[in-house]
Symmetry: C2
Subunit: 390 residues, 2 copies
Amino acid sequence: MNFKINYKDSTTDARSGEIVLSRGVVKTPVFMPVGTLATVKGLTPRELVDINAEIILGNTYHLMLRPGEELVSQFGGIANFMAWHKPVLTDSGGYQVFSLAEQRKITEEGAEFRSHIDGSRHFLSPERAVEIQSQLNSDIMMVLDECPAKEFSKTEVLKSLQLTQRWAERCFLAKKEIEKKQHNVDFSKANFVWKYLKASEQNLFPIVQGGIHLDLRKESAEGLISLDAPGYAIGGVSVGEGHELMREVVEFTTPLLPTKKPRYLMGVGHPQDLLMGIAAGIDMFDCVLPTRNGRNGGALTKNGPINLKNACHRDSFDPIDDDCDCYACQNFSKGYIRHLFIAREMLASTLTSMHNVRFLISLMEQARIEIKNKTFASFAKEFMRRYNKK
Amino acid sequence: MNFKINYKDSTTDARSGEIVLSRGVVKTPVFMPVGTLATVKGLTPRELVDINAEIILGNTYHLMLRPGEELVSQFGGIANFMAWHKPVLTDSGGYQVFSLAEQRKITEEGAEFRSHIDGSRHFLSPERAVEIQSQLNSDIMMVLDECPAKEFSKTEVLKSLQLTQRWAERCFLAKKEIEKKQHNVDFSKANFVWKYLKASEQNLFPIVQGGIHLDLRKESAEGLISLDAPGYAIGGVSVGEGHELMREVVEFTTPLLPTKKPRYLMGVGHPQDLLMGIAAGIDMFDCVLPTRNGRNGGALTKNGPINLKNACHRDSFDPIDDDCDCYACQNFSKGYIRHLFIAREMLASTLTSMHNVRFLISLMEQARIEIKNKTFASFAKEFMRRYNKK
């Protein structure tokens, strides 16, 4: 993996660059659509390419349960499996173990839990998390971390980040062990000629934790930097602490991370948080917001979010956002899309998800231009003024 | 409307030609995907164009209930509303009144019924059916007909087709009245520049009924031919009578219809029935089969239908049909699509519906080639041999 910073803003810490991965080049800052179960809900890979998605995220927790990493591995990994011929990042499964799984028990060894689907028992250790992601054959893997619960005391958060540090170290050791092995997949019976059989290189990012405690964020960051990883993530934000506390944590933590490596703010996708993160020097984001909200009628526009199910859109000839270049906005009216939502037609979710993802990707594209022009601060201010004005 | 027959088969009554409508040219024999609520479920108009759909069908019954024909009319008709810039055929709503609606009461005047959605009261007369379809602005409209119930005695079927005849006559009168009026739609506030604001010409097809009674089919056909319509449909087939009885009715009725006008076999979509219909001289077909089955895992292949949910497809690297040129078959394995079905992902329905519709459209394309080469009979025989072989 190679990361090159091409431009820096003058009045903020924003930067734009390129991450070169074995499946392709990703321009930063980048928004990664979430493809939980090896599909970005409602969109074809062809549609994702059309809206200029350059990298997507897959969820290890979901994929280990369904269809199982062995099956994905038989198909040459998640990218081949889902016919997405660009880079993929997989998370470690940690976050979902803490937010979705049942009867979880955390020990030094790892996390034992029951599947939220069928109650089956599973065990995720740092070594297993890396092994699974190796089988998923993502371009970027994440270490298994513990996401501290909101009600944790500061002492508990400290203990948790120390566990996350030890797990991160075990993940890096596990990765070295796995790289010694050969992964050979027999495609002799395949009718397809897949274009990219394998990511020739997988990169492992550790995750800074520490909750809302800045001194603990510092301790976590410093511990992980010693691992000399190819990139670093900030986790445990956007978990209900609110925009201002998130801003404080991100603005404090980001400068602690190595300047020359990509910085990834996990699970963040509200436009105001994306712009805040970019200004703080973040390069990568992911969030289910554009697709999850999109399936429920929530659409992002330059004038703020709207709900397409509302009766006020019934007669509207206008597109969701008249500045948007996506297929949905170039062809369909809000009145039509509202009808699709009311009639519970699949196309409602597809068009709105497509628009929402495109909206965030466009925001990243514009941010890159503004960073190059050293005008990011005024752009972000003007964007937010219009976005928040009702 | 203009219909031109370009080629005739030598050993069957199959013919291929072109229907020139104000929104485009439709090559026949043609399969029309069903877009019940102004969307072909799971597919974007762009995807429909990609699989070479040339005309789609909209359901008057569904659209009059949701979103209502007035709203569709405000958007310039169904084609503009759904951003489909090719011809549209609408049915009259009759079939759904008989199959879906509640508490229906049929009188000479028309059909009173309650909506299957909210129980609201509605009335559909021949005049209303034409008025609604005029507002939907389809290229081809259908007359309101009574679809006789399976348990009807022959006398009841006779009474029913006589009612259908009187209703057809009233539909043609209503159409003349409506054409005198001006339909002006104010698009001055529209942000879109719609490419095709209006079908400059709407064509009305009557529907031959008569159940499984050949003499009644003859009486119905003869009565309707006196209307000198631009095209004729055969209705009341594929309602549970079985393939052989359907064949008997179609092979008997089709030659009774004017040779120089398009003949439309309503609601038929099984490959064997399509080939039978083409051989009998049918030009147009529609059916929900490819999309409805597609949403439930049912896929059409040259070797017969398969269910993609079955465990036998779990590890399959193969596409649904290795001869198919659709996006689904060119990129995705059965193993992946099965995973999507098991995980209840929308993309499962999209890919399988896309393939199924393409499969039937490809079958029509191949049929046109075989008719031109005067080899349709042997083609159909060989297709069915492979399709039915297990």
